[in-house]
Amino acid sequence: MKTRILGFAALLAVAAATLYGLFGVPGDLNQGDAQRIMYPHVSSAWLAYLSFGVTALAGLGWLVRRDLRFDAVAVASAEIGVLFTALAIWGGMMWGRPVWGVFWQWDDPRLTTTALLLALYVGYLLLRRLSDDPARRATRAAVVGLVAAIDIPIVHFSVIWWRSLHQPPTFLSPDKILNPSAPLQFVLALVGMLAAFTLAWTWLLIRRYQLARAELAREEAVRSGVVRSARSVTTANGEGGVAQPNAPVEAAR
């Protein structure tokens, strides 16, 4: 199956990029080996932003077309996005400690924006868990996802202004990594890692989407009383209780 091939390709690509990043590419003149963390860190961040863009667009798709498959894409992308956001923050901290001397710096726009991104989308996922009705859940998630996506550029710019007024940009800015005049090998390492991560992201998204569809189908089956399991019927968010087809809609819809 095509997805399986994609999965193996992603695995190989990530392994290759990791080996190159750790051993193949030379360290940076200023930052030494710490610079190697940039490759997975930046790649993770890029994919985190991509994920949330997909979530916002998928939410829009639901609002316009009322097809739950859009919502399945939205939740899949959001969950993966949370993962990549956490990875990006972790990478950022592991880079920051040797380079800045501290794990965290408030005026690094990328780090602070990413932290807020994490908060926003964890909130998004939590919100989803509190809704049982698929349509209502999809609508709530869609509007929240859209507003969150709109907020991100605002956050980014405000932190940049915050920093620029506080002190001039330090020469250790991660933006230097993307400088085109950087040695070819650095660029290669970054692009390679990015491509590998993107493959992995795509595979994860497909699989997570399939999971979302399967869960939707199960919810639907449970709702129409077709499926009963040995333990009490559970809805997708794990809430217990026996569902009857004619039960009145719960207060917390």
């Binding site: 939590l126 509190l130 349509a135 509007v143 507003v147 969150a148």
Partner: protein
């Protein structure tokens, strides 16, 4: 009646209705104001007693107090509707959803302004900050911040109004969104109190205004979806 006038009329009616309901049950309004004052007190205990540290932190503490109390207020105005199924009634009216949003956001702004009127003097007293010389700019900052916060808060109150765990979900969703508003408002307040030595005040106020516009549009545009079904 033009569409705009109609929207405004309905928004005004809703805002008035909520205001009257709040005033009748004065309790909630007084409680929210008291809560805000208590928060500021507690900040004093947490960061004091060094007056310089408190004075330095004052702009941040002011806005944190406004935000935390503001959450209660905007949550309350939507909670009003869940009593007696009023929300269902409201959605039955053949009314542009944006009017409902506008009305609720408007009363939210009023609540924030009331909080501001209380907290600014309180900050001046508790944290030994001279606010009088910067009062006009402070007032402008509070107005701009209130609009943005009410725009976001009202929207999310609508999202969470019938949700389980509403009390925690509303803050959880709102606070990350208003981070840039908080940042800008505190920076503007700090600059205003210091006499704007770096000339950064206009930039921060513009950021606030931009935030307000974007969030009002986003809120008004999407609020309608929440009231469906």
């Amino acid at each position: 009646m033009t569409a705009l006038r109609r929207t405004a009329t309905i928004a005004w009616a809703i805002a008035r209705k909520d205001a009257i309901a709040e005033m009748r049950g004065k309790q909630a309004a007084v409680s929210t104001l008291t809560f805000a004052a208590v928060v500021l007190l507690l900040f004093g205990f947490a960061l004091g007693p060094d007056p310089r540290r408190l004075a330095d932190a004052a702009p941040g503490l002011l806005w944190l107090g406004l935000v935390f109390a503001g959450l209660l207020a905007v949550g309350r105005f939507h909670e009003l509707e869940t009593e007696d199924g009023a929300l269902e009634q409201l959605t039955l009216y053949p009314v542009d959803r944006r009017s409902i949003y506008a009305g609720k956001a408007a009363i939210g702004v009023l609540a924030m302004l009331a909080l501001g009127a209380l907290l600014v003097p309180l900050v001046a007293i508790l944290y030994a900050v001279d606010v009088v010389h910067a009062l006009p700019v402070l007032a402008l900052t509070v107005v701009l911040g209130s609009i943005g916060f009410a725009a976001v808060g009202t929207f999310y109150a609508g999202v969470t109004v019938r949700l389980r765990a509403r009390e925690v979900m509303l803050p959880l969703l709102v606070l990350p969104i208003v981070a840039p508003l908080l940042l800008a408002a505190v920076k503007a307040t700090t600059a205003a109190l210091a006499g704007d030595p770096l000339g950064e005040l206009p930039a921060w106020l513009e950021l606030l205004a931009g935030f307000d516009v974007v969030m009002l549009i986003a809120g008004a545009g999407t609020y309608g979806f929440l009231l469906e079904e």
